[in-house]
Assembly symmetry: C2
Homo-oligomer: 685 residues x 2
């Protein structure tokens, strides 16, 4: 407690820097940084423990700016605390190749934990970070070794509060009693459409209470630094509930337009900026000025953080001698490397093995690897029995007092909340000690699209276990049968979409997903049984595409994925018998991984000189890249037993053969017949 | 009031039919129908007004089953009330080509208002239906003519209650004080993962109170028919708030597995079905039996509904003579036809007109047409000033007592709630008197993907005004720049994705969107200015793709959309000057509409014998369908002024020319060189 002029100076410095940076970039959001400068000052200086020289220190407190458009606030705090963001960097805000992009990106900027801006995402990420802390603490802390006990602090605004993903995540956090999570709600009554009274008149505090949160209100967030401090302290003291502090602030505090939408998303006018500076005792003629005493005062706190890390390092050294296995495990996890030899556990199949649904094959993988990969944290959005995401011995991650799990549990019940599941998984992954896998139906990964996109953009190793992957789910019908979904996520950069055809391919999908430390994966898995293929191996499938059936005299290549590969193999027989046509089959479980192979390899799989037909029971969009003609489903599916549905749409050996024949005939006159993977130029990546 | 054995018999008939149908199909969800049979009986018989012989009667009460997996409940009610669903139909539940698919589909089944099953969607649809009623009543009701005053009743379960879209929609409904909306929450404590206590322990009632809803609790939903009736009556009496009735029920009531997850998603075992039937006084040996007195008793109520419609028709006849204009307008709206000559209002541009951002062009269209198309209801998910969705004279749709709008207002503030905006728009469209248009950034249409998919599947004429459509949005950066979005929605069946290149194309997009009564549209619009093209007309652009610049000696066709078309036109000059290469340009504002043209036309646009290159600043996925080579962006974008960003990724005349040259050279030796639109066989549609 005890705030004075120096605090005011620091707060106003934050405000003025936000003004300068947005004016310089002629773009950005000064309003929220100006309104939240006081709470940022109090939170970082009085509560947060961190070492700017090592933003990766495990036990640092995490800070998430869910209202990511206010990023100049976060960049400013990082700059003032001397993270590796220079004043020159500050001047490049929102310019091409700057380390300070328009919204915070975890991958680009030191000190940014998660990628935010798309509203509500940071809220879910913070819940994930808090879950990961609770779990990691439960696993690694020992008597006398409180290794992992950090807090997660999160700011969110009215926009986040309106987004469904934040509602979902808040309900989950309340259920899980995450006492290590403290959220500060910037109650400034302004969103882009102006006063929130035009669309958002609910009682947010009461809603959070309904979720089981501890809720407080600080009425004067512009000035009441002591009130802010008291509220945060109280929130820390409540350890059996997440805390929400409603902080009423004035957006754009100090501006002539303060308290209005005018200051939300546009730089201040010059004269307005000048009057703010004058009012705050800054030279209106100068920009990007930080009084030395602000740096000094923050440096003092940063030094405490550095000392805290040093203490922690000593503690960890001692821990390493007393708890060798745990220490080695923790170190390994943080390196993102999997345990030596883990892949020996991946199941291998031969054609003699029975037909098994790939969702069951996935379950077997989890069953086999969960004890050698202790960082694997599985879960489902209320489809556990359908997604097969839970190994038999799994313990639920739950607050122990509910009597149905433990903090150290490795199975998360996300509820019917796909979007927040994905956002929470991004947060869990960002914590650094866990690899989250979460299940839903492939069709409902679309509900989570906003967060899935950020898995990719922020390079998180998360695994989406997406079962019931096609019309093959049968009776649930068109509302549940994906058509556009694979095309959607194949078009998403830095995402691997796997659709394994059998057991070996399923093992390959997990192998590549788990060893790709900066790329998320979607595993599209069947409800229906699939036979084990003759030509599949983990190694071959790990290339993304391979020849499942070779025939040097083939007149056509059938390129297929998942449940259609075995039908294509049947079609080869049908073609030979009924059309005297020889065919070869390519299985392409993951186009993105195939794309990354050498041109030589790709052309060996889909060669020049031979026509090709893709076969997949959903949208053909994108298959032109790997085939001359496409057989798919560019309409919605049908409700019925799955074999009937396949028959209706002609996904049978006969239906495939008919189209294969048409393809061969149509392309017979073209010379040279280029492989579709033989291209004129490389794409930018 | 006053319930007796005949009510019990009806309720048990509903239960037994749900058991029989799911056993016959060997698939489906008997649990919720068995648990909710009492409330369905009371609601339909005591409160709902409808005429089974005319499911389209405007003033019918609307019923939405948000927990759509319980559809056998709804199908059973429709059958018992003698909608056009026969007992033979009931036996085809979940079979291919049945009118009773696995989840309710508005387009397929008489009496189904909206397509549900994906959880939470029906909740948002019901809010949309209630909005449409409030608006339509305000516009058309006159003293002595209470033409439109129906209620919307909705059932939802724990799954819906967990979904973010329902939370968003509930907040909106509370803000809008929709007294005509009554939601009944099936509080049965069971979801697919078992007891909801594993993931869902919040206080749902308190949450709804926080949203501003009137909340009640009926504790014994299995037996307390009078309590149910009283609660619904009270909910009707509260006219200034939406109502939520928490109804505690026993899932699978009557089964040996009642109250457990075992009865949620699987048909009952034979012996269990037999004991239920015996207990309820039915012959365990027989299936699909309806006691005649149940039919009779329901027929009595249906007759009242038919009489009510007859009364209404008389009222409308009188209305037609006293309020001719309004009556004609209402009739026309219900026919889905737009007013004669409305298209004359669409703005036409010539190359002399200034460069304008397509989001502004869209605003101009709305400005010009809003008074000739009174059924157009615009709105935005809190991006009004950015989406340019509001015409100057627009009045907000708001409860009048807020003082910021009227029930008759035609501008909806959806808040930062993209998913529920889309779900609400589906409901508004389903009501029959309005065409909803709603804005957000293109990137955040992905947040709404679950509902957008249902716009397509349920044939709703809704328009997504999706601005800031590419890296051209500039400084907001990769978190906001769509890459995968157009591919995603182009892969979605029955969806038109428009990306207009100039003013005429923007008018064409609106023309086709508004006249396609069973297909939704996404209009992808720029933030940055676009010049008016030389070769564009509304007529040409209405074909989805056309030749924007012809050259009979061209060696290459550049196929492009939106903001890249004018850069391609510049590239033509650059190619001539620097590479002595002649090029032609195709503008392809909507691939789906282009696909629907004759093969002859398509080949005139993208002819055989000439190489082609697509140019679009996002994922190339799918462009192989219209071009031999693709120039796009298969990575995330960058934050910076948009021209800098375009330059970084080489979307300049020079960058395009380089790739055009490579394309021509690469394909020079292929004979015959087929147009990519020249295909071996037709796709199933």
């Amino acid at each position: 407690m005890g705030y004075d002029k120096s605090d005011e100076l620091a707060i106003n410095t934050i405000r003025v820097l936000a003004i300068d940076a947005t004016i310089k970039s002629n773009s950005g959001h000064p309003g929220a940084p100006m309104g939240m400068a006081p709470v940022a000052h109090v939170l970082w200086k009085k509560f947060m423990t961190f070492n700017p020289k090592n933003p990766d220190w495990l036990n640092r407190d995490r800070f998430v700016l869910s209202n990511g458009h206010a990023c100049m606030l976060q960049y400013t705090m990082l700059h003032l605390y001397k993270y590796a963001i220079s004043m020159d960097d500050m001047k490049t805000f929102r310019q091409v190749d700057s380390i300070l992009p328009g919204h915070p990106e975890a991958h680009d900027t030191p000190g940014i934990e998660v990628t935010t801006g798309p509203l509500g995402q940071g809220f879910a990420n913070a819940v994930g970070l808090a879950i990961a802390q609770a779990h990691t603490g439960a696993v690694f802390n020992k008597p006398g070794f409180e290794l992992v006990n950090n807090h997660t602090y999160m700011f969110f605004g009215d926009g986040c509060a309106m987004e469904g993903i934040a509602s979902e995540a808040a309900s989950t956090a309340g259920h899980l009693k995450l006492g290590n999570l403290i959220a500060i709600y910037d109650d400034n009554h302004i969103s882009i459409d102006g006063d929130t009274k035009c669309a958002f008149t609910e009682d947010v505090s009461k809603r959070f209470e309904a979720y089981g949160w501890h809720v407080q209100h600080v009425e004067d967030g512009d000035h009441d630094l002591e009130g802010i401090e008291k509220a945060i302290q109280k929130a820390k003291d409540v350890t059996d509930k997440p805390s929400m502090i409603k902080l009423t602030t004035t957006i754009g505090f100090g501006s002539k337009l303060q308290g209005t939408g005018g200051v939300h998303g546009n730089p201040l006018k010059k004269d307005d900026a000048a009057q703010v500076k004058e009012k705050f005792g800054f030279d209106p003629e100068k920009s990007f000025v930080v009084p030395q005493e602000v740096y000094d005062s923050y440096a003092e706190h940063a030094a405490k953080g550095a000392a805290a890390e040093e203490e922690w390092n000593k503690l960890f050294e001692k821990y390493s001698s007393e708890h060798k296995t745990e220490a080695a495990d923790l170190k390994r996890r943080l390196s993102k490397k999997l345990p030596e030899g883990w892949q020996e556990k991946l199941p291998i199949y031969s054609p003699k093995d029975p037909a098994i649904a790939s969702r069951k094959l996935s379950e077997t993988v989890l069953e086999k690897i969960h004890d050698v990969i202790p960082e694997l944290l599985s879960g489902s959005a209320d489809l556990t029995g359908s997604n097969n995401t839970r190994w038999k011995q799994a313990v639920d991650f739950q607050p122990p007092d509910l009597g149905i799990g433990e903090w150290s549990g490795r199975y998360l019940r996300y509820g019917v909340r796909e979007h927040s599941m994905a956002g929470i998984m991004n947060g869990i992954s960002a914590y650094g000690t866990l690899i989250p896998a979460g299940g839903t139906f492939l069709n409902f990964v679309s509900y989570a699209a906003g967060a899935v996109r950020l898995s990719s953009l922020s390079h998180q190793r998360v695994i989406y276990v997406a079962t019931h992957d096609s019309i093959g789910l049968g009776e649930d019908g068109p509302t549940h049968q994906p058509i556009e979904t694979l095309a959607h996520f194949r078009a998403l950069p830095n995402m691997m979409v796997w659709r394994p055809a059998d057991g070996n391919e399923c093992s390959a999908a997990y192998y590549v997903a788990l060893t790709s430390t900066g790329t998320p994966s979607i595993l599209a898995l069947t409800r229906q049984n699939l036979p084990q293929l003759e030509g599949s191996t983990i190694e071959k499938a790990s290339k993304g595409g391979y020849v499942a059936l070779e025939d040097k005299e083939a007149k056509i290549t059938l390129v297929s994925t998942g449940s259609e590969v075995s039908i294509c193999l049947e079609a080869v027989k049908y073609l030979a018998e009924h059309h005297q046509l020889k065919a070869r089959v390519v299985s392409m479980p993951c186009t993105e991984v195939f794309d990354a192979q050498s041109k030589e390899y790709k052309l060996s799989v889909i060669p020049d000189g031979i026509a090709s037909l893709s076969v997949e029971v959903m949208s053909t969009l994108g298959w032109e890249k790997y085939s001359h003609e496409q057989f798919g489903l560019n309409r919605f599916g049908a409700s019925g037993p799955y074999l009937e549905v396949y028959k209706k749409f002609e996904f049978t050996p006969e239906g495939i053969s008919k189209r294969a024949k048409a393809t061969v005939e149509f392309w017979a006159d073209v010379k040279p017949l280029r492989s579709p993977v033989n291209r004129a130029f490389q794409q930018l990546i």
